[in-house]
Symmetry: C2
Subunit: 335 residues, 2 copies
């Protein structure tokens, strides 16, 4: 079995061989093949969106994806959240000595496939190798840039107004529970699959259909509750969501129940929260449901100007409680 | 002593507190403070240069710098090497549980100071925390973008022609030997200091003075021998450099001698190789020597069209040998 050795990270012959035989095999475009210290890209005729994320997920292969797919989806989705069209990404690998090259190849294939699906090019990269025990298999950073097309309005928490509607594009907690189940050998014999996917087409559908979207955010680490609390902090407004409408798959719900976890705090990797003017909410919801990755979209609640800047959950039994940002660790290394 | 815990990477309250109290304290600009999934930047009126690098150096503090300074210099220098003016960088942290927050703060201060010196803004970031033993203190990815101003010619290995001159901006091996000495407790009681520094002003000086520069490259991992071999591969030409002109500090030379290492293969973090048309070489050399980080610049040799695509070293005793790209590990985790 061929494995990654420290010499693959030395910058010398082995590094160059790895780049030529593996990276250039799957990442193949005129920009990367400039082979310079930085890549020269064409003029971008518009404002630029930029986002970065490092991925340290454990395990690196899971139901519905792997660290490569996740690393591309994560950064592309973040770029889309500002209303931008993603164009280019960089990929930086930190690899643990001893990783089988076949595993690295699977990850690289997955990165290439996902980038291709999203229509973005991998234009620059970096490879570091650390001694056995100085990282856990592989960590990947992706950084992306995209263009905000000229007619696109600015999206941001500060645009949220009283009465704006809150939509979520599907079920909560799938990614976090999939990773927990696999990593901790919890033995839940369920088919929980990560929702890890590209949201670029869904976002394009939404923004083409509506000029009244205020915020787009993907509720990843910390889940929907954290994302809504962050928007609240930024917007100076309260929000209320209804427990009865929160979409959770039965197997995710059951696993959360047993572990004492709340799906509101569990990470998603293929969902978007849309905050939209109340008069355009039905239109946006309809559009979202027509896209395969938005087919389970639901209206969860609305923004309320009560001067308290809190997230409220209207419970199934008619109560109302405040949902704060989570404290403590929740789940680690789920992305 | 306050330390980093897994909850700092959970995405919840502790993550947000770290971002507010530490990162926003030192990284403070309108783009980062948009606080969205991606940051929206102004239109860039020109071609864009993009580069990424992950830094896993051990130790994280050393004579002449630290991982923060290195992470900013590394990416900014790479952007400059395509003739671009660096504008924006992202910073992605992977932090080991247990790192003292005071050490993180020192690194963050250093990042802010170096970015400020270079005139670039840190526009987006990410923080991951992994369990103790799953990384070594801290790894940092920086990815940067810059603008190639309109009158700037394309730089690249494919432009090198017979007779072009090869200049190096100063002494070789300082960074690699400084790290080795510190990490391995080699006990060399020397004052070897890393050359880690920003090259943006030196590059600006060179490109403002000459339209005849063919290639700019910084000889980092793998040293000058690797960099020249890479350019040779790209340019389909041979190069000859003279041993007698290779600048090496006496203490670096002594340490290399004892360890059986060749300064030609040792990493630099504040040097640039300039390949320039022979008729403009003296002009460029003069300009470089007027800049503090280029004061020890020397002309090392030239490109030779002998159809063999080799790097030759003209030895002090009048011989000539081929210098190949290094095999094996050389030095690990020096950047």
């Amino acid at each position: 079995m061929e494995i990654i050795t420290l010499s693959h990270g030395s910058g010398g012959k082995a590094t160059n061989k790895l780049i030529d035989n593996l990276f250039y095999k799957y990442f193949n475009n005129e920009f990367l093949l400039q082979k310079n210290d930085s890549s020269v890209l064409p003029v971008i005729n518009g404002k630029i969106a930029m986002s970065t994320d490092s991925f340290v997920i454990n395990p690196i292969f899971f139901e519905g994806g792997d660290i490569g797919k996740l690393a591309v989806c994560g950064t592309i989705n973040d770029i889309c959240m500002s209303g931008a069209k993603p164009l280019y990404i960089s990929v930086g690998f930190i690899i643990e000595e001893g990783l089988p090259i076949s595993e690295l190849e699977k990850v690289v294939q997955s990165i290439a496939k996902t980038a291709n699906e999203a229509g973005v090019e991998i234009v620059t990269g970096d490879t570091k190798v650390v001694e056995k025990g100085s990282c856990d298999k592989i960590y990947i950073n992706t950084t992306g840039i995209g263009i905000i097309e000229k007619n696109r309005a600015y999206l941001g928490g500060d645009k949220v107004k009283n009465g704006d509607k809150i939509i979520i594009s599907g079920t909560l907690g799938d990614h976090g529970m999939c990773i927990m189940n696999k990593r901790e050998n919890l033995g839940f014999k369920t088919s929980i699959k990560s929702d890890c996917c590209l949201l670029n087409k869904l976002i394009e559908d939404i923004l083409s259909a509506s000029n009244n979207v205020k915020v787009l955010r993907d509720p990843t680490r910390g889940g929907l509750a954290t994302t809504l609390n962050e928007i609240i902090e930024h917007s100076n407004i309260s929000m209320e969501i209804a427990e009865e409408f929160i979409p959770v798959k039965p197997e995710v719900d059951a696993m959360c129940e047993i572990l004492g976890l709340d799906p509101l705090f569990i990470a998603n990797e293929g969902k978007v929260v849309v905050i939209v003017d109340k008069n355009d909410a039905d239109n946006v919801l309809n559009i979202m449901r027509q896209n395969p990755v938005g087919k389970d979209s639901v209206l969860l609640g609305e923004a309320i100007n009560d001067g308290k800047n809190k997230l409220y959950l209207k419970t199934k039994i008619g109560g109302r409680r405040i949902i704060n940002m989570p404290e403590g660790e929740i789940l680690v290394r789920i992305c």
